[in-house]
């Protein structure tokens, strides 16, 4: 009987999983995608999954994308669930993005600057015309790539240049251990390291929309891209028994420093303030959105009026995580018939009572 089928149980789950496997594989007459192919040719998807999965591991992110049939939020979730089981051996020293081996580096505030503008592998000036030559499965012969410029090794930060002139608000250095959202629940108000951690793990689409809203007047932002850079940085750890830092590898990150106006306060002259975004891999859109939202979330500490959604710390931080959001939105498809039944009975009772009242009034 139908009722039994609804409470499908073990066999239904097994069947669903078998079907899922088949759907993932697609047409078996076509060769299966290798994880290496995904890693190499879907590299921006891999970057996004590493960023939102909060785990820098390209092969695992590529595997997650394959397993998730290309659903990037599902892939980020797979990576997070794996990450949470890993032992923690230690923390790295802060990344020195100033020493980045730059693949791409642009500034919107200066025409030219030390280190130069490096366009790098960007869609920025492509014409968005479908390239039907790519529809052929065979590799096309590629024009040889010009050699990268050697002087890109030294690229001082634009915000540093402004700071020399005293025009950029100083960011006080701190050796305090930052909090960790993955170990301790979020407390409001959250300090900036915690906010930046939440944003770095946050959903690109959600942050993009929020960042966009600050440009349209919801939050009174006047942002300039001081600098956007992407490239390899060294990861170092300083084991206490050694007493000095050792390099354990390189990762690719994208960093955005937005320069924003600040009217000044009683204690501080007018100056520029920074919005900061850092994400794993090549993730410019997200790094820029994070930098916009970071600056918006600093409104309270800078004594600015707080009213726009992007300035609302609790709203932003509690809703930017797509693994949390997708879970709670999608859980609505789980059975709720017990609660729905209680609503049905309540509605019927209220309507019956109202009908009785109406009859009584009509009789009087």
């Amino acid at each position: 009987m139908a009722y039994v089928a609804v409470k499908g149980g073990e066999r239904a789950i097994g069947n669903a999983h078998a079907w899922l496997d088949e759907a993932r594989r697609g047409d078996p007459a076509l060769p299966a995608l290798s994880v290496r192919q995904i890693e190499e040719q879907m590299s921006l998807a891999v970057d996004r999954v590493m960023a939102e999965g909060a785990c820098y591991d390209r092969p695992l992110a590529a595997l997650a994308i394959k397993q998730a049939r290309g659903d990037l939020i599902e892939a980020a979730f797979l990576l997070r669930a794996y990450r949470t089981t890993l032992p923690r051996f230690g923390a790295s020293t802060p990344l020195d993005t100033g020493a980045m081996r730059v693949r791409r580096r642009v500034s919107a505030t200066y025409k030219d600057l030390p280190g130069g503008q490096v366009l790098g592998p960007t869609f920025d000036y492509t014409h968005r015309l479908l390239d039907f030559a790519l529809a052929a499965d065979e590799d096309m012969p590629r024009p040889p790539m010009p050699e990268a410029q050697a002087d890109s090794a030294v690229a001082p930060r634009v915000t540093g240049l402004l700071a020399q002139e005293g025009l950029m608000a100083a960011e006080p250095a701190s050796d305090a251990e930052p909090g960790d959202l993955t170990r301790e629940p979020l407390e409001i108000p959250a300090d900036r390291p915690l906010r930046l951690q939440a944003l770095a793990r946050g959903d690109e689409g959600f942050l993009l929309g929020l960042g966009y809203s600050t440009q349209r007047g919801y939050g009174n932002a006047h942002p300039f891209v001081g600098e956007l850079r992407m490239g390899e940085v060294a990861v170092e750890i300083a084991p206490p028994e050694l007493g000095f830092a050792v390099e354990i590898g390189d990762i690719v990150v994208t960093e955005c420093q937005m320069v924003n106006q600040f009217a000044g306060s009683r204690n501080e002259p007018p100056q520029f303030t920074r919005g900061y975004g850092l994400v794993f891999g090549q993730g410019e859109r997200k790094a820029m959105a994070v930098a916009l939202v970071d600056r918006a979330l600093r409104a309270r500490e800078l004594g600015e009026e707080v009213g726009a959604p992007a300035q609302d710390e609790e709203f932003v931080l509690y809703h930017c995580d797509n693994v949390e959001a997708t879970g709670f939105v999608e859980h609505l498809k789980l059975p709720h018939y017990v609660d729905f039944q209680s609503e049905l009975e309540k509605l019927r009772a209220i309507r019956a009572a109202a009908a009785t009242d109406a009859r009584r009034e009509a009789a009087e």
């Binding site: 009722y3 979730f77 709670f328 709720h336 017990v338 009772a349």
Partner: protein
Amino acid sequence: MSAAPEVASGGTLAGYNFAYLDEDTKRMIRRALLKAVAVPGHQVPFGSREMPLPYGWGTGGIQVTASVIGPDDTLKVIDQGADDTTNAVSIRRFFARVAGVATTERTADATVIQTRHRIPETPLREGQILVYQVPMPEPLFRLEPRVAETRRLHALGDYGLMHVKLYEDIARRGEVEISYNYPVMVNGRYLMSPSPIPAFDNPKMDRMPALQLFGAGREKRIYAVPPYTSVRSLDFEDHPFRPGRADASCALCGSRETYLDEVVTDDRGGRRFLCSDTDYCAERRADR
């Protein structure tokens, strides 16, 4: 990268700790659980982990169960009162894999019962632990979405918002319009969400001999009601709390006391009612 985990000889999943969570995480959750028991109804924040099941599927309940359960336990998992709903099956299988514990569908045989949306009809006894999966631990969230503000209200014991809401319901409709997740006062001090159980189940929480633990994974909160603790559904003297159920009897066992699921049988208004608690219904039929 490690190879696919296999079931180890001890009956648990190779490559993972007993009950999936690492010992540091369990210890953190265990400390939170003891404080939750010590302050009945107070929501204790905890470092909820990302579980291999999605948020909303019971990650809070699973973390609580994983921190509590041991090799001597017998686990029952229900969703909507039933042992054979897909998510209950899935969670039961999860624990059978990662903890190798015995599972049962019989309420009386279980030492730990993880539930979503129901309290079993069979009265629970001393020594049993009921673990609720909780989506929104904050009873005031529809009236005040800001966590920082609700925390302040709990500190003050200021539950005027909820009293006003109930009062307005009564003024407008003649009764409280909450039919599930009906707010309760615990030990006369904390307003608490009973999780989205039907209001019908609320009276079972009051002075229950079993220990009640609540886990909200996404919201990262744990709370508890010790055995024999007062749990009162909010009401007014002239409008006492009245739990509802369908005015019908179970089509299978004939019960007129249990909570019923309504099953639509055709598109001409045909329907039948069945016990939502499948174990209770099966036991009644077996006894006949």
